[in-house]
Point group: C2
Chain length 428, copies 2
């Protein structure tokens, strides 16, 4: 006897209603991506441990679920540290496995590889409301394309998928890691401290501009750099930021970075039919250190965190392959769990095209032949048909429960005949 | 730099073609099951370790991937055995998690719960051709129904799903654990050795009747029991086995067991329209010890192992709940990986309803606006449209590669116009 039948800590069971919505959302997203020429692949949930602890995962590597070695490989008495005990781990994102997949298969793959991934990932985060240790990610990536047509296609495909899910009026925020680097350099920060400066800037939404200033000061950066930095953050917040205005604020941004941003912003604006917008955001950082170029995020009004995020990461695959060559790569990930949570909040209902018919039978029924044949006949006309034992003591309660499960028509099998209880006549 | 970019041992990457087929198969199976009134749930891939080592998993428990404790819970210096180090594991099947799910949620669930599960499971088997350490299972179960209408619905729904996948002329083999128990008792084996006898009988397909006799003798069972047992196995193999003939061979089978078998066999025969058959098989054992009643398996000609298997397990949920009450439960699982392997062997092609159009552009293109608008226009008419950089040095090779990826129509964007390369005119 097991007393605790809850799912493991931070994990969750999903009810039929939840699975239906989730399957609907992944279906819409993948269909929408496929329309743009992306193809779906899959990688194992389990990867070798050295691959998941190479540093590319940032903080996610600290939340790794590690898998114990098995059989002869496990030598408990001689193990002195964690690394001696484990050889595998559960993936914490889909980008790191994708890079391994590409490195392993690239001779067989198209030169410009447009790829969809939908799958579970695991992070041993501190359990909290709405955050789970197993969750689904939906990513698209384009590998092998260095030009901004990659960014443009990713943004268009992601925006199209979100529109299919009835999200409207959202804003794509865009920035470039090289803009951030120019920004930090312009203010006189040393290159070795850029990462730390960006991590603090990334908190702007949460701690406000004074908070950012405080943290920068506490970190021991020169006052002159901090003041210049904060002044520009303020100015950017008070200006309608465009490629032109940002070039004036930060005259050291390379020309090609500006023209690429300009092209993406103008092209997306032109293609969006004013159903969504795109804007430059100097404070957009994106957490992962592996980004090398443009970065983007999609937020919707009234919902704090973003529902999609991504960017260019040209160094990551090369690092796996041979440490020399760059392989251009760019990705965009929909925050699947957030999208589902918002749809649930909005009481979104998955529309079912099929009628759902319940046929009730008596417990003393001797032969199921006629009942089953009738069920199949109705099924062949396109309906869902479920055979259900009749609860004679409380037919009303049973029909209420079945209605709750989505059944819309009911029949009872009695004296060798199907008798209509409710709505059945109109449905069959 | 990581030199080994293969998936972890025994795991595999799945190409777009493989994912497409797998998604098609799970789609067909779940749609088919839903038509019979089953509803899909999902449980986490990770379960608490005590739950995965309770004994119900049989040999699968030996192949468990165990997950290392994290943070303060892990005390490496004081750990003297494996159990001290791990708190979680990867599920090795979907039945054990289902029982936990039911035990945890039963007040909210229908009295007769018809449930679909599709998901990955993990077993650290010795790597071998065609066997992977992560694989997909597709299960249906009916919980709360004690009568054979449960078995009948499971068999009909599974047969319907297989037919939808163009499997025909398959045979459902059926037996009952209580028939096997009567059989062993009739031959004079002691009840405590029934399990061992069944394990040996289960090898009949592989080692033949002489092999079974040998193993029984080597196990030290009395000659009289072994001889009687083998004689009946031979007689059963040479007879057209029916409920009537088996009752003559083994007069100690309880009446209700026989009448239940008779009803299932006759009902399924009547419903199958001669598209598949059902037959009693005295040598059918099914590996798992948790079965308590009827058991069944589906095989197809020319493919050794079965493509579906299941049975009744009335004790398992009660054991989790309180150790007293039985909760009737019965399940049928399609061998998803085998089904996919057979379809691949048959070179089954997923039919795509959408046209797939590739629009090629020059690397010196300055504005993507017109190209993207044209792409969207064609997409709005239902086609998949991919923007592809034109490989001017070898257009033929590029079109061949795109054709290989499933593209059927091609256009090239040139001097501000879409020029037809191949088949495009007829598709847009």
């Amino acid at each position: 006897m097991i007393t605790n039948t809850n799912p493991a800590e931070g994990m969750r069971d999903l009810s039929p209603k939840e699975v239906e919505l989730r399957n609907y959302v992944t279906g819409i997203i993948t269909e929408s991506y496929k329309k743009f020429g992306f193809a779906q692949i899959d990688t194992p949930c389990v990867e070798r441990i050295n691959f998941l602890t190479s540093g590319d995962g940032g903080d996610n590597e600290k939340m790794l679920f590690k898998i114990l070695k098995r059989g002869d490989k496990l030598n408990l008495s001689e193990a002195s540290k964690e690394q001696d005990l484990v050889d595998l781990g559960l993936r914490y994102d889909l980008t790191v496995p994708l890079c391994r997949f590409y490195a392993n298969n690239r001779t067989k793959l198209p030169q410009h590889f447009k790829v969809i991934q939908v799958g579970s990932v695991w992070r041993a985060e501190r359990p909290q409301k709405g955050r789970y240790r197993q969750f689904t990610q939906c990513d698209i990536d384009i590998i092998g394309t260095s030009g901004v047509i990659a960014e443009i296609q990713l943004i268009l495909a992601t925006a199209a998928a979100l529109q299919q899910l009835s999200f409207t009026n959202f804003t794509v925020r865009i920035n470039d890691r090289r803009v951030l680097e120019s920004f930090a350099a312009y203010c006189g920060f040393e290159e070795s401290s850029f990462g730390k400066v960006f991590v603090i800037l990334d908190k702007l939404d949460k701690i406000g501009i004074d908070g950012v200033q405080n943290e920068l000061q506490k970190s021991g950066f020169p006052d002159s750099s901090v003041n210049k930095f904060i002044e520009i953050v303020k100015e950017a917040a008070n200006t309608k930021l465009t490629v032109e205005t940002i070039a004036k604020l930060l005259p050291n941004i390379p020309e090609n970075v500006l023209s690429d941003l300009k092209q993406v912003i103008e092209t997306i604006s032109g293609q969006s039919n004013n159903l969504y917008s795109i804007k430059l955001d100097l404070s957009l950082v994106r957490g992962m250190g592996y980004y090398t170029g443009q970065i983007f995020e999609i937020g919707i009004d009234g919902f704090g965190s973003s529902i999609a995020g991504g960017g260019r990461y040209d160094k990551m695959i090369g690092k796996i392959l041979n440490g020399k060559e760059d392989i251009p790569a760019c990705g965009f990930s929909i925050g699947f769990e957030r999208v589902v949570a918002i749809l649930e909040e909005r009481q979104f209902k998955v529309s079912n095209l099929s009628n759902k018919v319940a046929l009730l039978y008596d417990s003393d029924l001797l032969s199921f032949d006629f009942l089953l044949s009738e069920a199949q006949r109705i099924r062949n006309e396109g309906a869902v048909v479920s055979i259900e034992l009749h609860n004679k003591k409380n037919t009303k309660k049973q029909l209420d429960n079945l209605t709750e499960q989505g059944f819309t028509a009911f029949g009872i099998y009695h004296n060798g005949m199907l008798v209509v209880l409710k709505d059945l006549q109109s449905k069959i």
